[in-house]
């Protein structure tokens, strides 16, 4: 027996001990890792000490072998080997392994038989075909080697019916059992039943050898998926320390790179022989850059990028070019991104993901017409492709000045938008029609969008504006009444002096824009302000497709355009940023946006959702509570009005107008003494409201008496 085989057997024993220890544990719920201590510490170091010669040889004394060989799995039904007389040593397993060319198992089987039958001598040339008389048994081995396990069992059963005294060879029985377990473990792993995978492996150490690297991979995967990366690392380390198949070794390190945290897979590179793991090192680079490319945060190591670009240029598949495309797309380098997506598409013309990246890059380059033409063919492929296409549509239609879009293009745009029921693109079609003086068409678009999403403030705004443009005052008022308490800009459409006017000789129609003071100002630009807003705010993508980092500036830009509802949506996306500063700014923005559109409870929630500086906190809470107090009073909820005012007092001093509000609240609650005290204080500053309040108190009290 070669020293190497002995080494492997000893390692098998070491791992067996480790796993069996775990097998004795009760089924472990994932996440409770009480298994990383103790036994593992002793097992794996010995696994790694493959060149520690003397110790290994001592442990591998032949009389210990039966316990350790991979053929002796616990719990088999076969009778104990000592039942056999040494005269009829069954060499059929030897013959099978010899035929398979499986020298390792052959040697293990020789060792096993020697241990059971001390006087037995193996055939001089075990690899030579043995003249073997039992053709039936021969056939069983043949069936086994072909993987026809059910037929082996059937053949064994048939023979035992004919010859009740006949016993199948231990080796065959054990191999069949082992095969069953391997199949079961594989099925459990395919079904992602990680607990079952670990349980089965723990009970079957004989499977955890270089003969079944696939099983070891699955065990490692099960550990990695149950928050035990250290145990997964141990399993990979076992393979790399002991198993020699070069493809399996490389596959092992690549799996480790894919599944383990980088620091853990790094350790495994110490097992490298020569530079066999070069491909895995490239995987590490892909993983590092890929992780950065998922978000807009951070930059990749320049050396990593250089290597990845070399790989991408040489690659036959689209993975690396597409990865670089996404990396540059999310770093505001759409030109570079477009080149990489072009490469990716050359390698994989059917890849919907590469097509999506290509379309988004065109969008980011404001090449909307090209993007629309390209993206139309992909719009049906996936939801992401559809979103990219709708982004192109919104961008195209909101360009300034409005582009000429052919009738056939408009037709196909409309077909996709209607099918997708996409409010942003539907609204854009409305504004596009509005700009072409097709006001009735525009009205229908806004009505349609409101059917898709009755809560869409921008569509309601569009509808009110277009109805006013059509001199449909009644129709506009329906919208204004419904939205006045939710949208400041819609409410203001209903006030005198704010009527939309069709102006100018050409087709350009300016919708009114309001500054923060609520005063109508003439739009500076020639085109319809709401329509152009997304384009002006630095991008055409619908708000819901933005990343948190993109969403934050979009939110402020929309605030500048006084479109608080859309701004709030953008800020809410930005609030998902991993960056605390972005989150805080976004929460502040969301709070202001909600305040501006009168949604105070949302504003309060937003204000509380990320830590703010105390100045901002004071500003936000003062505004939130002021609006709440006003709203509560308007709803006749006077006691709550007082509570809101009291709460506000903790942030800012009560101004005179709010003092008067407090007085009125007391009056409504018939707390006349309190009302009188407040009105008197406020009347002292000459407030006519307070003076009127005092009179009311007087009247109410005398009326009561």
């Amino acid at each position: 027996m070669s020293v190497k085989t002995l080494v492997q057997l000893v390692v098998v024993a070491g791992v067996a001990t480790w796993i069996v220890t775990e097998g004795l544990m009760p089924p472990t719920p994932p996440g409770v890792d009480d298994l990383t201590t103790g036994a593992i510490g002793t097992a794996i170091p010995s696994a790694r000490r493959t060149d520690a010669g003397p110790l290994v040889i001592t442990q591998a004394m032949p009389d210990e072998l039966p316990r350790n060989t991979q053929l002796n799995s616990p719990g088999t039904a076969s009778p104990p080997p000592t039942d056999r007389r040494s005269g009829d040593v069954d060499e059929s397993a030897l013959r099978y392994f010899a035929r398979q060319g499986d020298a390792r198992r052959l040697e293990a089987e020789i060792a096993r038989l020697r241990a059971i039958y001390p006087g037995w001598q193996p055939p001089a040339d075990p690899l030579a075909p043995v003249d073997y008389a039992d053709h039936e048994l021969d056939r069983m081995w043949q069936l086994f080697s072909e993987g026809r396990y059910a037929e082996v069992r059937a053949a064994i059963a048939d023979r035992r019916k004919k010859e009740p005294q006949w016993q199948p060879p231990d080796a065959l029985v054990q191999l069949l059992d082992q095969t069953d377990t391997r199949i079961r473990l594989t099925n459990a792993s395919d079904a992602k039943q990680w607990g079952a995978v670990v349980d089965i492996a723990a009970k079957t150490p004989s499977l955890l050898t270089c003969d079944y690297v696939d099983v070891l991979w699955r065990v490692a995967e099960a550990f990695a998926n149950t928050d035990r990366p250290n145990r997964a690392e141990d399993a990979y380390a076992y393979i790399l320390a002991n198993c020699d198949n070069p493809q399996e070794r490389l596959a092992t390190i690549r799996k480790a790179v894919a599944l383990l945290p980088e620091k853990d897979s790094d350790t495994l590179f110490t097992f490298e022989r020569g530079d066999e793991f070069a491909a895995a090192r490239d995987d590490q680079i892909r993983r590092r850059v890929g992780k950065i490319a998922e978000t807009e945060e951070g930059l990749a190591d320049p050396a990593d990028l250089t290597r990845l670009e070399d790989l991408a240029r040489a690659a036959a598949d689209s993975g690396d070019p597409a990865l670089l495309g996404w990396y540059y797309y999310r770093r505001d380098k759409p030109g570079v991104a477009l080149d990489w997506f072009t490469d990716a598409r050359e390698r994989a013309p059917e890849s919907a993901k590469a097509a999506e990246g290509y379309a988004l890059s065109l969008n980011q380059l404001d090449r909307f017409a090209e993007a629309e033409t390209f993206g139309y063919d992909w719009a049906d492929a996936t939801e992401d492709n559809l979103a990219a296409y709708l982004g192109s549509v919104v961008g195209l239609l909101s360009m300034d000045p409005p582009p000429r879009v052919s009738e056939s293009t408009l037709e196909r745009i409309v077909s996709v938008v209607v099918k997708a029921r996409d409010p942003a693109a539907g609204e854009q079609l409305g504004w596009y029609a509005y700009n072409l003086k097709q006001i009735k068409t525009a009205t229908r678009w806004f009505e349609t969008v409101l059917r898709w999403d009755p809560e869409d403030e921008s569509a309601a705004y569009g509808l009110a504006v277009t109805r006013l443009a059509l001199k449909d005052r009644t129709g506009a008022n329906v919208v204004i009444r419904e939205w006045a308490d939710r949208s400041e800009r819609i409410a203001k459409l209903g006030k005198p002096g704010s009527r939309t006017e069709l102006r100018g000789p050409n087709y350009t129609i300016d919708a009114p824009v309001y500054d923060e003071g609520g005063i109508v100002r003439t739009p500076v630009r020639r085109t319809a302000a709401p329509a152009a807003a997304p384009a002006r705010c630095g991008g055409s993508a619908p708000v819901n497709t933005l990343t948190p980092t993109q969403a934050l500036p979009r939110g402020w830009c929309l605030m500048d355009l006084n479109r608080p509802v859309e701004a709030a949506a953008a800020f809410e996306i930005a609030m998902r940023s991993p960056n605390a500063k972005v989150r805080s700014d976004a929460a502040y923005g969301a709070s202001l946006a909600n305040l501006r559109s009168g949604v105070t409870d949302k504003a309060a929630v937003a204000a509380a959702s990320a830590p703010q500086s105390s100045k901002r906190q004071t500003e936000l809470m003062t505004s939130v509570l002021t609006q709440q107090a006003l709203a509560l009073y308007a709803e006749g909820r006077y006691a709550e009005t007082i509570l809101a005012l009291d709460a506000r007092n903790q942030y800012a001093q009560e101004q005179n107008d709010l003092l008067v509000l407090r007085g009125w609240a007391y009056l409504k609650m018939r707390r006349y003494a309190d009302a009188r005290r407040i009105f008197q204080a406020a009347a002292g500053t000459g407030s006519p409201d307070a003076i009127r309040g005092l009179a009311e108190v007087q009247a109410a009290q005398s009326g009561l008496r």
């Binding site: 059910a150 069992r153 199949i183 099925n187 079904a191």
Partner: protein
């Protein structure tokens, strides 16, 4: 149905069901399916790899078909066949981390397990058959597997509803949170004959209470003009109703209920009367609960044998043509053999 009515019915059930739950010698059952019958069944529905094929359902297999296969192989005394079916069941279905069986296996899918959820009747059947085989053939491996599965059932599938222990149809889903506070159960998953064995295998779990709640449930779930249970029943604080989101029929699930009651030793009487009445007045059929009318008449001999078994319990001999078993399709053929096995075991005078 009010809770108080439910409680009153509990008393009724306790008085009249007389279902043996424990401490009574289980019937041997071995030999109640003949070698020829079993060979004919196995030739049709059992692959050499031990897979029991539901030929009408697209040739899939499931934990129920494997469980029935084990039970019939045991009843026919075919140890090799039993071992083959068990090997397939263990390798392919007993792969869940909670040690229950995945329920659905499809030869044309990869991986073959297309739904890793369990179905509680399959688990009960497998544990029961393993327990029987382990005990009567003195096979430690079967007994050990039976104990493991019985414990897994006890740990994962028993739950409390209106102060009774009931069997959840699966470890996932069917819970109160999924159903507005209702618990949906399947009365045909109460395989009463199995509970004494489960009691022996996993004595730490309340199998007797489970059996009692099942009898009570079946007695109380008398819906519609035909006064029959639906396949799926919702339990809420108000009592029992046909489960919403399921067809309100006495369907392919529920038609097994009288057979299970008979096999567990139920006698002709209150618990069986509505099933007997339906058999006598309508015959084998899927029955719409709202109208009490058949929506599908069942002509397969296997389904007719279910009614014949009920009639036999009241003294009527089994018709000549049903005494001979000819395989047709998986489900009715299985029921045919289970019903014949019952008659031979408990009512041989009907043959």
């Amino acid at each position: 149905m009010s809770a108080s009515l439910l409680r009153r019915l509990a008393v009724v059930a306790a008085c009249y069901t007389a279902l043996p739950v424990a401490a009574q010698p289980a019937p041997t059952m071995e030999g109640t399916v003949s070698g020829a019958e079993w060979t004919a069944y196995a030739d049709h529905f059992v692959g050499e790899d031990g897979r029991v094929v539901d030929d009408v359902n697209g040739g899939i297999s499931h934990s129920e078909s494997q469980g029935y296969g084990l039970l019939l192989a045991y009843s026919a005394g075919d140890r090799d066949g039993f071992d083959r079916i068990w090997t397939f069941t263990r390798n392919e279905l007993l792969i869940r981390s909670d040690r229950l069986a995945a329920w659905k296996w499809d030869a044309s899918a990869k991986p073959h397990v297309v739904d890793v959820n369990n179905a509680s009747d399959g688990d009960v059947l497998i544990a029961y058959a393993l327990g029987l085989a382990g005990e009567s053939w003195r096979n430690q491996r079967y007994s050990e597997a039976a104990r493991g599965l019985a414990s897994a059932i006890g740990e994962n599938l028993l739950t409390d509803a209106n102060n009774r222990i009931v069997l959840r149809p699966g470890a996932e889903g069917f819970g109160r949170a999924d159903n507005n506070g209702m618990l949906v159960v399947n009365p045909s998953y109460w395989i009463f004959e199995a509970f004494p064995m489960l009691e022996k295998l996993a004595p730490d779990h309340p199998w007797q209470q489970l059996a009692a709640s099942g009898a009570e449930l079946i007695n109380a779930a008398r819906f519609g003009p035909a006064r029959l249970p639906t396949d799926w029943v919702a339990i809420s604080a108000e009592g029992l109703t046909p489960a919403p989101d399921f067809p309100a029929v006495y369907g392919y699930n529920a038609i097994r209920i009288p057979l299970y009651l008979l096999r567990a030793g139920a006698k002709s009487g209150p618990l069986l009367e509505n099933f007997e009445h339906a058999a006598a007045s309508i015959g084998p059929a899927i029955i719409d609960i709202a109208t009490g009318q058949p929506v599908e008449t069942l002509t397969d001999p296997g389904y007719r044998m279910l009614d014949a078994a009920l009639a036999c319990a009241a003294g009527t001999p089994v018709p000549e043509d049903l005494r001979r078993f000819e395989p047709t399709t998986y489900y009715p053929s299985t029921l045919h053999l289970l019903a014949l096995s019952y008659v031979r075991e408990r009512q041989p005078q009907c043959l």
